[in-house]
Every structure is written in C-alpha cells, then in structure tokens.
C-alpha cells in the first residue's frame, strides 16, 4: 500500500513538472495577454494540481494524514481563487483597450462599444 502510494506520487510529480514547464514555455511563446492567460491556467490545473497530488500521496505513504488533508486544502483554495484572478485580469485588459491579436471572431467587441457610448 505504502509502496503504491510512493510510486503514484513519483508519477504525479514528474507529470506536474512537465506541465509546469510546458505552461511556462506557453507564457513565453504565446502572442498576447489572453493566450498567455490560457497557459497560466495550465500551470495551475496541470502543474500545481499534479504536484500537490504527488505531495498528498507522499504524505499518505508515510501515514501523515493531517498533512495530506492540508495539501488537498491548498489545492482546493488554488482552484477556487485562480479563475477569479484570470477572469478579472482578462476583462480589465479588454475594457482597457488591449486588442487580442489575430482573433478569427470577436463577438464581444460590439457589447463593449455599446457600453462605452
């Protein structure tokens, strides 16, 4: 049981490291703020969640249940607060006038213009 938890934690940590690195590459390579926000969300949902899951499994392998529950709580708080920040900064950028690059369709533009006039 303990060995299984240990192996699972190793797998999850490696996967989380991969996703964190991919998301940082995305933050550097993507063209504008909105697409970079997508990459930033991935740092949370892939990287942070998997590494925290690995930490929780490692805590479970050593029988430290309070630490495991607290790790899950950290994950829950990150999941609850991050979409707020992403959404708020995206909307603020749009209302401030930063135009998304290379959009195929922009159905939001008319709404904002209607608000401003």
């Amino acid at each position: 049981m303990s060995a299984m938890f240990f192996g699972l934690s190793t797998v999850f940590m490696a996967a989380g490291l991969f996703f964190a690195f991919a998301s940082v590459v995305g933050v550097i390579r993507f063209p504008d703020v909105y697409t970079r926000l997508h990459a930033s969300t991935k740092a949370l949902s892939g990287g942070a969640m998997m590494i925290l899951a690995g930490t929780a499994f490692r805590a479970a392998a050593t029988g430290n249940w309070p630490a495991m529950v607290k790790t899950l709580l950290i994950a829950a708080f990150l999941l609850a607060t991050n979409p707020l920040a992403s959404h708020a900064i995206a909307r603020a950028c749009y209302h401030h006038g930063i135009v998304p690059k290379g959009t195929v369709i922009d159905e939001y533009a008319e709404t904002v213009r209607g608000d401003r006039s």
């Binding site: 991969f18 996703f19 991919a22 998301s23 590459v25 995305g26 390579r29 993507f30 063209p31 909105y34 697409t35 926000l37 997508h38 990459a39 969300t41 991935k42 949370l44 949902s45 892939g46 969640m49 309070p66 630490a67 529950v69 607290k70 899950l72 709580l73 999941l79 991050n82 979409p83 707020l84 992403s86 959404h87 995206a90 909307r91 749009y94 998304p100 690059k101 290379g102 959009t103 195929v104 369709i105 922009d106 159905e107 939001y108 533009a109 709404t111």
Partner: protein, 174 residues
C-alpha cells in the same frame, strides 16, 4: 420557508466544518467544539449578506441553488478528468515547434437560469485550459468565451465542450 433555506445552510456549515478540520489538522474534542463555535460565528457574519438576501441580486431570484447530493459527490472526479484532458491538449499546443493559433471570442448562450450556478459554470470554463470566460451577460444568460484555438472543428467544437460542462452543471442543481 425553513425547508427552502435549510439545505444550503447545512451544506455551507458542513463545508466550513470540513475546512476547519483540514486547516487545524486535528480531530480532538476541544478542536471540534471550537470549530463549531467558529463556524457558527462565520455563518452569522456572512449569511445575511452573501447568501440569504444576496446583495448583488437586483431583482428577486434564488441566490443559492439547491444541489443534488450524489452528483455533487461524483462531480470532482469528472471535473478533474476534464481538466487533465484539456491540459494535455493545450500543453501539446504550447510545445509544438511552430505556433499557429486561431483564437476567437465567441458568445455561448446557456440554459442555466440560476445566477450562482451560471457563475460556477463560468469559473469552471476559466479553469479548463483552452477556454477563458471574459464576461457574462447575466440577464440573458450569455457567456463571452475566449477560446485559445478553434482548431479544425471551428466554433462548434468549443461550443460542444461548453455544452458538456453545462450539461453536468445542470445535473448538479435542482
């Protein structure tokens, strides 16, 4: 009257109590008793403002939906599965040698009437990589979503993904 408002209250109190046990990390009798006192104080301080007659509801409407219990318990697993698959797709996009994106901002009309459930759906869409809620047209239940890459399926692919999340959210609330 008591019946309609009791269920959300019980749900909130249970969630708060679980968070209390998780933060303190102990389950002794003194900690549990103190937890009951603190949970009561927190609910007393926030219930009237944020949940019962919520301040940001201009006209009448239920601020807080009643959740079904069984879908609520199975919800995190489906949500995490959805999360992992979407993350994998976006990671592939970020690591491919040549970045060729077709981002778009589209409007998706939702069927969900309850505003809190709509907000939860919007947050869920933001959490899923590849889609990002920019704004919500709350009175007409429309969400403006920035999609990272339309891909080969075009708008319908993104809308289908949103529909899947929305369907699950509809099963969650009563």
């Amino acid at each position: 009257m008591g019946n309609s408002s009791l269920k959300p209250l019980a749900l909130l109190a249970t969630a708060l109590f679980c968070v209390w046990i998780a933060t303190t990390g102990r389950a002794d009798i003194p900690f549990l008793l103190t937890g009951i006192v603190v949970v009561f104080a927190v609910i007393r301080a926030t219930w009237a403002t944020f949940f019962a007659g919520a301040h940001d509801f201009s006209h009448r409407g239920r601020p807080w939906p009643a959740f079904r219990l069984l879908p609520l318990l199975s919800y995190p697993f489906f949500f995490l599965l959805e999360l992992v698959s979407a993350t994998w797709q976006v990671a592939l996009v970020a690591l491919q040698p040549r970045i060729d994106l077709h981002p778009a901002i589209i409007r998706v009309d939702s069927r969900i009437q309850n505003r809190t459930a709509l907000v939860l759906l919007a947050n869920e869409i933001t959490l899923t990589p590849g889609t990002l809620t920019i704004d919500a047209d709350i009175p007409r239940q429309g969400l403006y979503i920035h999609a990272l890459d339309l891909g080969k399926d075009g708008i319908d692919g993104v809308k289908g993904q949103i529909r899947r999340l929305e369907h699950r959210m509809e099963g969650l609330i009563r």
